[in-house]
């Protein structure tokens, strides 16, 4: 299994009610499957997940990206800084 850390920001943190969580996921899981897993765990995120950006270790990633071991994954809406 792969021990990862997941961070939630902005809308996603407010909705899930959690800032960060440590999870065990299968090795070689891709981001699309990870999103499915997350929605099972946090059904309240289901309406947001298609509008969510995902980063791994501070780089943007996409559905087909394989999650490396001990990754720091972050989930957040399109950015609105400035």
């Amino acid at each position: 299994m792969n021990q990862i850390k997941t961070l939630f920001f902005a809308t996603l943190r407010d909705r899930a009610g959690v800032k960060s969580v440590e999870l065990e996921i299968p090795l070689q899981m891709n981001v699309a499957d990870f999103k499915t897993l997350l929605i099972e765990k946090y059904p309240v995120l289901s309406g947001l997940i298609n509008h969510t950006l995902v980063s791994i270790n501070h780089e943007y990633v996409f559905d087909e990206t394989i999650i490396p071991e001990r990754a720091e994954i972050a989930l957040f809406p399109p950015v609105s800084g400035g």
Binding site: L7, F9, A10, T11, D14, L53, S55, H58, Y60, F62, A74, F76, P77, P78, V79, S80, G81, G82
Partner: protein, 153 residues
């Protein structure tokens, strides 16, 4: 060989333009273009509304990495740029407060220093993970961006 200063940070402190500019001014520098964004109290365009304050949050280590990336992109496009400073202020910020700054310096004003600063602020607003919750007279809501980064961004 001169090394060119690149400053980037996420901070809760007031932006000090004088100090930031001083840090990116070399002996060969003759021009700077600086952009700042401020919290608007009154917005007229699109969806007119009043803002009491904005609450900014950042994913700090990734935000600083993306600021560095924007600085690198600027240097790839304009090899005339000497210093670059990028600062995003976070926390609870009231109207008229500067919240973001990008400053670029160069020897002369006609070698892209304005374009570089303009490019920089556009990119910062696309890829730097910072968000703001807007608090108005009738409640609060997260402001949503509309850019989806592509592979490699």
């Amino acid at each position: 060989m001169t090394t060119y200063p690149t400053i980037f940070s996420i901070t809760e402190d007031e932006l000090d333009l004088n100090h930031l500019l001083e840090q990116i001014t070399l002996s060969s520098t003759g021009a700077s273009a600086i952009f700042t964004g401020m919290v608007r109290g009154t917005t007229s365009r699109d969806n007119p509304h009043e803002t009491v304050y904005l609450e900014y949050e950042a994913y700090k280590p990734m935000a600083e990495a993306k600021m560095k990336q924007v600085a690198d992109e600027i240097r790839e496009r304009w090899d005339t740029i000497e210093g670059i400073a990028i600062v995003q202020r976070i926390g609870k910020l009231y109207p008229r407060t500067p919240t973001i700054l990008i400053a670029c310096t160069a020897a002369h004003r006609d070698t892209g220093v304005f374009d570089a600063a303009r490019y920089g602020i556009d990119r910062l607003k696309e890829i730097v993970p910072v968000w703001k919750k807007e608090v108005g007279p009738n409640g609060e809501e997260w402001v949503e961006g509309d850019y989806n980064p592509q592979l490699g961004e």
